[in-house]
Amino acid sequence: MVPISYYLILSGILFACGVTGFLIKRNIISIFMSIELMLNGVNLSFVAFAAQWHALSGQIFVFFVMVVAAAEAAVGLAIIISVYRTRETLNVDQVDLLKL
């Protein structure tokens, strides 16, 4: 028997770590991974609330979040590959001009 707030605190910590990673990282791929961490934190809170209110639609919504995250990862990584090909760098601070 665990209070549901423990799960929500864990989800909050993961989300906060994700946002911190988004702010402090300079590598595009690491920033993208922080976004995935945020999505995982949100998934945990969905499942926790589904358990609290006995509503299975919380678990169903996790599927949709996962599918959207997978699609976003695919397209985002393709964009990262394009950026690397044109700018030759993965550092966000150096991708600051619209035209080379």
């Binding site: 665990v2 991974m33 995982n40 990862a73 393709a78």
Partner: protein
Amino acid sequence: MVHLILFLVFGAVCVAGAVNLLAQRHPINSALSLVVVMGSLAVEYLLLGAEFVAAVQVIVYAGAVMVLFVFVIMLLNAGVEERTKGSRVALLFGVPGMLIGSVLIGWVLIERTGNPMVPAGALPGAPKVIGWLLFHDFLLPFEVTSILVLIAIMGAVVLASHPDTEQKEKEG
């Protein structure tokens, strides 16, 4: 009791993985810490009874999406991150800011929600029940996400293809 111990152990592994993702400077180490986070999250889902979601988390997220990340890191030969002026400023303001923000979120979550206790395996999400819901009540979002995935596949293939081979295919 066992539930609490399992939750704390895998919660600690989760948080350690998340902090390690922030602390590591090479993206491959961050990617592997994220895989650890996803694996321990799958155990947390199992503790809440969501068995199908846990299995899908391992198969899709840890087994496919993160493999894609590792692939791209290997292909682009991403190296160790450098510390620039912008990243130092972000570290100085971002980390305390997020610490305050997360304490705020935690306080709101504890005060405002009812804080009931849930037993282990609180809401059994058997595949049969999830399948029924997915194909009856949530059929429209299901079909829309399948179209979304199709568009993502086409977009990714077009974005990642070599511009030279496109030229050669047009000429040849």
